[in-house]
Subunit: 115 residues, 2 copies
DNA sequence: TGCTTATATAAGTGTTTGCTTATATAATGG
DNA sequence: CCATTATATAAGCAAACACTTATATAAGCA
């Protein structure tokens, strides 16, 4: 997929296509700097659980996010070691940082914490 | 659409979606540094004229490329003044430069020139 | 074991997409 | 004015998409 530091257009277009959806772009913006589980994304994006799970599955299949199971929860985050990461990062940087959205969740007591 | 130097996610996702197609990503990579007309793109991408025209129309409607009519030909190029340009540029930079492809066209005598 | 919570997956459906073929529009040159 | 070239646009169609509802899987806990 890589030629030097360049991506192959066919494979790269698949990554761009996955990110070309407002729900997934939102999810990736959230998961770029924070780890979230599906139920948090359901709250943040106000969408059904199956819909969020399906979007996350596409991101995972594409290698954009990775998962970490902890008890009942599965936490997702953008995989910084992915070959597509530089592309993902340079797209996401054009959109507003989502830290405030996550802070709102904490304030509402909806942030999942398993320490 | 813009908040500071950041794009709105909904509008930005539309730009990313337009670029999430290998044909359009190819076209934009070609038109980032060179001007081409539809018939040149037909040669370069080996696709039908209506198909190329339809892809170019999407890019034009999104404001990603602009046109310049010269006689029978309409030359297209990426619009550097577009609000979406920084996003477009930061996506395209991850893919191979297409200057060689255009040079091949010149060698084959298929490059349109109206000087 | 059985109940609850979290998540995934499957099946169904209306919408969108990207091609095709056919035709329309526009400019050039005899 | 007519033929040619370049481009756009329309109609049709199969495939992909993003939801929905229903169900399956998996972990935690009484």
């Amino acid at each position: 997929m890589t030629i030097g530091n360049k991506l192959d257009i066919d494979q790269g277009a698949k990554i761009v296509k996955i990110l070309g959806d407002k729900t997934r772009l939102n999810i990736v913006s959230l998961l770029m700097h924070d780890e979230c589980c599906v139920c948090e994304l359901v709250e943040l994006l106000e969408m059904s659980q199956p819909s969020i799970s399906q979007h996350v599955a596409k991101l995972k299949t594409a290698g954009i996010v990775k998962e970490r199971r902890q008890g009942q929860w599965i936490f997702y985050r953008v995989d910084p070691d992915s070959e597509a990461f530089p592309l993902v990062e340079s797209i996401v940087q054009h959109f507003p940082n989502q830290k405030d959205r996550i802070r709102e969740l904490e304030v509402k007591g909806l942030r999942v914490c398993c320490d």
